[in-house]
Amino acid sequence: MTTYYTKSHEWIRLEGTEATVGITAHASEELGELVFVEAKDEGTEVAAGDAAAVVESVKAASDIYAPVAGTVSGFNDRLSDEPTLVGSEPEGEGWIFRMTVSNPEEVTSLLTREQYDAL
């Protein structure tokens, strides 16, 4: 199981065709403390780069993009009551949504950790 990254600061961890998606620690720091997180409804089909979730700080709303094509298959319900979890554990318990990816091979076109860190 490998984690891949996007230039727009999402991470995606794939197991078979099921993936977990969140934002990087760097993105979370830039956004500041979050007050609200919401993902598209389960079953929503998304292309790579489509907005699949939104995170809101006091000041602004930011879209979170699907790193690859697929279908939204779940939301981290803990974030409904505890949106700050994204800030405290962005790459762990603060994951945002799950998706069933259309083509698992597509993740290899994303950035590795080394590539992301070099941005």
Partner: protein, 377 residues
Amino acid sequence: MSDTLQQTPLFALHGELGARMVPFAGYAMPLQYPAGLMAEHLHTRTKAGLFDVSHMGQIRIAAKSGDVRDAALALESLVPANYAGLGANRQRYGLLTNDEGGILDDLMVANLGHELLVVVNASCKEADADRIEAALSDRCVVTRQFDRALVALQGPAAEAALAPLCPAAASMRFMDMIETQIDGIPVTLSRSGYTGEDGYEIGCAAEDGERLARLLLAQPDVMPIGLGARDSLRLEAGLCLYGNDIDTTTTPIEASLGWAIQKTRREGGEREGGYPGAEHVLRQAREGVSRQRVGLMAEGRAPVRGGAKLFADAQGTKHVGVVTSGAFGPTVQAPVAMGYVETAYAAVDTALFAELRGKFVPVHVRATPFVAPGFKR
């Protein structure tokens, strides 16, 4: 940061304090410091925050006759407020109107006893000064002071922080304005601000700005606060942001700012009308308006932001207004907003729906301010 941006006298200090700088009204301004917007907002509500507002414009108006009342009467030709009746060392909010009664800017006017000191928004300051100069230069000397430092010390601990440096501060009331010194620095000092909290606004020469800011930051309970928290604080306090909540397309009556027009300038008053667009404003005051600015609170936690459309029904078929400012209110711990709605939907507690990412979320018209003001009357 683009080098075409202007810098306030506190620019170097912001860098030292670790501020994240953003362009605002042509200036490089601190959006937030390392504590972050949420912590900065809550600190201002419970202790005291220091804001750099040096980007705002300060304009002095002195009557050629030497009588400050003549300057006040002259300014009344541009602003529907009673400034001739404003006592010495007092300050009053006002609005610059255009010929249609639209709002060109909002401002604070202080009577310093010998002349007026006007504080205007950064983005409007040149246009405001041009307008004031054009209308008043036959009777007054209008001086732009756009290079001074101006800081706001806001919050319940503001008095305790300032009084040891400036004993006169403790006895001032809300909207008093004096000229005094703080540790030898000549300052203009008013008990006012734009956060809904007690506090002060302190102006000084640019070269003294950093020393003044450092003195204040060294006081117990004072931390630096950025523009981000300034916006959420003013929104919770129900205060308008020029360019968002009021502009040339909104009149004082539509903006629910009729309170800023004192009795003397209203219909039947001693100096009724007499400002640009007065006939429109007077007619609206008499006959009512078709839309007005209201406070709004959304259910749930999702902030409803400026630009969101407002509907009378959950299906989004009857469009009745628009949100002009919205954020999550850190103190009220709920989404707060303001916007314009058709008058029939402007009563407090009216249920409406805001369009948010294709859904229609319930909101209610609510009285402002959303937080109890901390002013020392």
